[in-house]
């Protein structure tokens, strides 16, 4: 019983939130790592692309809601999502045509594309705020809890509750499905291999008859789809706010790079590394110990490994340490010069 209580407590505050947050980061990191791996530059506009995709989906959702369309108990946003993806993909492709393709043609070094992406980031940033404003938007209208803490207590008779949200489950499942799909696509499918070939050696890809425009197009479409899915899932779980989406950029990049650039599985693992290092290191284990330890072993203080003051520092320390041990990320990512 005590053991179960401890486990429930740990799951409720560490495991489940960590998994869900990790998956959210992972979805974002997948998009980043894809562009990073195939088009060989760090796309700073990805956070704002996520915001853009989410915004389109929200607008669609509102419209559908105003029409009275609903698939309750599922959230309406799910019907709006495909449209969000399409619009975002068009937008991403247009951006590439207007901005990035030029530098590819010039064979500019990656850093130039990265800086250009900062320019794009500023502009998207403004576009999103122009259209939907800087405020919080909530658009989740489905059933919220799969399991409420109180219900769980009643159900099991435990002292500790466990709450699980639909959005959390959805995010974890989607993240796993997407990473498997993407991994399969890149490793096994013809197009996926062509994309990797293109990223490896553009000239030689040309000589093998691979059409670079198609590779770029597909990359952006997938990246936009990933961005929209990630953004919408995050927005459903927490809320949509443009500024937060911009702030997501850093942990997402950290996840993608720690995992190893260009490696989908790495991105997901990286997401979990970042998420759990935030959640676990600063968690106060006192209550858990109270359950599992005998009376006189129980700790005096909060049993935090480190105070929350240094929460972000801690996750960055872990990140740096991981890199020192595995200099190109957990999954031997690319080194883009």
């Amino acid at each position: 019983m005590e053991m179960l209580n401890a486990l429930t407590l740990f799951s409720n505050f560490v495991l489940i939130p960590g998994l869900a947050y990790g998956s959210q980061l992972a979805l974002g990191a997948l998009g980043v790592t894809l562009v990073f791996g195939i088009l060989r530059f760090a796309n700073f506009a990805h956070g704002d692309l996520m915001a853009f995709g989410t915004m389109v989906t929200i607008l669609m959702t509102w419209w559908l809601q105003s029409l009275g369309v609903s698939i309750s108990p599922l959230p309406t946003a799910l019907i709006a999502l495909p449209i969000g993806i399409i619009v975002t993909a068009l937008f991403a492709v247009a951006t590439d045509k207007a901005v990035f393709s030029f530098y590819r043609l010039k064979k500019s070094p990656p850093v130039i594309l990265t800086i250009a992406s900062i320019g794009v980031m500023f502009m998207m940033n403004a576009i999103v705020r122009f259209i939907i404003g800087p405020n919080d938007q909530r658009f989740y209208d489905g059933e919220k809890f799969l399991m409420k803490a109180r219900e769980f207590k009643q159900l099991t008779g435990l002292d500790e509750g466990l709450s699980i949200r639909y959005t959390q489950v959805l995010t974890v499942v989607v993240a796993l499905v997407v990473v498997i799909a993407l991994f399969w696509f890149l490793q096994r499918s013809r197009t996926g291999k062509a994309m990797r070939a293109f990223s490896d050696n553009e000239d030689l890809a040309l000589l093998s008859g691979i059409n670079p425009d198609r590779v770029v197009l597909i990359t952006w479409i997938i990246a936009a789809a990933l961005a929209t899915i990630a953004g919408v899932l995050y927005g459903m779980d927490k809320s949509f706010k443009p500024f937060t989406y911009f702030q997501l950029l850093l942990p997402i990049f950290a996840a993608a790079i720690v995992g190893g650039i260009g490696h989908p599985v790495g991105a997901v693992v990286g997401g979990y590394v970042v998420a759990f290092s935030e959640v676990m290191v600063t968690y106060a284990y006192k209550k858990v110990f109270v359950y599992v330890l005998p009376e006189d072993w129980q700790p005096e203080g909060l049993s935090q490994l480190l105070s929350t003051d240094y929460k972000f520092a801690v996750s960055f320390i872990i990140l740096v340490v991981v890199l020192l041990i595995k200099p190109t990320g957990l999954f031997k990512g690319k080194v883009i010069k």
Binding site: N12, F13, V14, P17, G18, Y21, Q24, L25, R129, G133, P134, N135, D136, R138, Y140, K144, K148, A149, R150, G161, S163, R165, Y234, K238, S239, K241, F243, T244, Q247, L248, P251, A275, E278, V279, T282, Y283, A284, Y285, K286, K287, V288, L302, Q304, S307, T308, D309, K311, F312
Partner: protein
């Protein structure tokens, strides 16, 4: 200058950056006061006021002072409403306002350090220093017989200052702070914070942050995980958008915010609503008041001259004189024009200390299911 030429006043707030969702309505509230004055036709014999907005970004002192520099030396504003964030206010006060002799009234900079800033007498604020709010809030918490709390604060001068003053006062009154942990604004996830806070064993959580930032994130995450069910809040957290945006019940949540149950606060809400502004939110009342004070100071000195405005702010803010409430700017202008005196109370019950900051009375509010005022402290 001819009559047709409008008087320019700066509205310098963090329109982009971490408080970008707060500032538009603050600016609207301030401009509402200007509009009233302009439309009254009584301001300096029918002068109009033109508000010139500028962005501080909230976090970048260099941008803030450049923007203020532009307002003062290029746009030639006669005074400024702003800045919002304490950091920006400090930079502008020392580098621009003091240097050029231009008065500024901040509606929301609450850092205690601003009390002693080297401003050459040019910096005023309608928001009270955080030093006092902590004490008031601690008193309320003790009165409700809550003996142990966990605290989370936004990791900036506002949050930290408030958290310190709260816990000092709370401990002095016999309370126990189980944990006091910062949260950063604008982060993606707050489950780690909630985990630590809840593990501290405290049953009540004091949230000292912003209602559309990390503060709300912490509350949401707490409700989702069933870690805390009600919260103790300070001014930055209080506003109806919190109730609207948090998914779950906040019933029983209580807190303090500057202001009074004066008729003024209510009047402001109605007055704002009539003008299409949602007046119920952080620092909106204070913004309106800041603007109103500038207008009245012009009128009192009978001149839109910078020095004259700065000189007259105190006199219109404090007694003696007729009490002025929101929506009564026209009336006040008339009184002043006729040589009378006013004591502007406005939406937030303005009363300035010698250094020009609101002494501040505080409302105790509780959610049921909207924020209701219980008492004034």
């Amino acid at each position: 200058a001819s009559h047709s030429e409008a008087i320019k006043v700066g509205v310098i707030l963090g329109f982009t950056g971490p408080i970008e969702s707060l500032t538009p309505t603050m600016a609207d509230s301030a401009e509402l006061a200007f509009k009233e004055a302009s439309e009254s036709g009584a301001l300096l014999d029918g002068k109009k006021i033109e508000a010139v907005r500028a962005d501080t970004t909230c976090v970048d002192a260099a941008v803030a002072s450049s923007a203020a520099e532009r307002l003062v030396t290029s746009e030639k504003v006669v005074a400024m409403v702003g800045a919002a964030c304490s950091g920006s206010s400090t930079a502008i006060a020392t580098k621009v306002a003091a240097a050029n002799g231009v008065a500024m009234i901040s509606p929301s900079s609450t850092s205690p350090a601003l009390t002693t800033v080297e401003d050459n007498g040019m910096f005023f604020r309608t928001a009270p220093s955080d030093a006092r709010q902590g004490e008031v809030l601690a008193g309320i918490v003790i009165d409700r017989d809550i003996k142990e709390v966990a605290i989370t604060y936004t990791n900036n001068d506002y949050g930290k200052g408030l958290a310190e003053s709260f816990s000092t006062a709370y401990k002095a009154k016999g309370g126990k702070v189980a944990i006091s942990a910062a949260h950063e604004d604008g982060k993606a996830d707050y489950s780690a914070e909630v985990g630590a806070l809840s593990a501290s064993g405290a049953e009540e959580l004091v949230v000292l942050g912003y209602l559309d930032q990390g503060g709300r994130g912490v509350i949401q995450a707490s409700l989702d995980a069933d870690a805390f069910s009600r919260f103790i809040l300070a001014d930055g957290m209080i506003g109806d958008s919190l109730i609207k945006n948090v998914d779950g019940s906040l019933n029983g949540t209580f807190g303090t915010l500057p202001g009074s149950e004066s008729a003024g606060a209510k009047m402001f809400l109605d007055h704002a609503k009539a003008n299409g502004i949602d007046g119920d939110g952080p620092y909106r009342a204070e913004s309106y008041d800041a603007a109103a004070l500038l207008v009245l100071a012009m009128q009192a000195g009978k001149s839109a001259d910078r020095a004259s405005i700065a000189k007259n702010i105190m006199s219109v803010a404090n007694a003696p004189g007729e009490k002025i409430l929101p929506g009564q700017i026209a009336k006040a202008l008339k009184i002043l024009a006729e040589g009378g005196e006013v004591d502007y109370d406005g939406a937030s019950n303005v009363e300035f200390s010698e250094v020009g900051e609101a002494a501040g009375s505080y409302k105790e509010v509780e959610v049921a299911p909207k924020f209701n005022t219980m008492k004034v402290h």
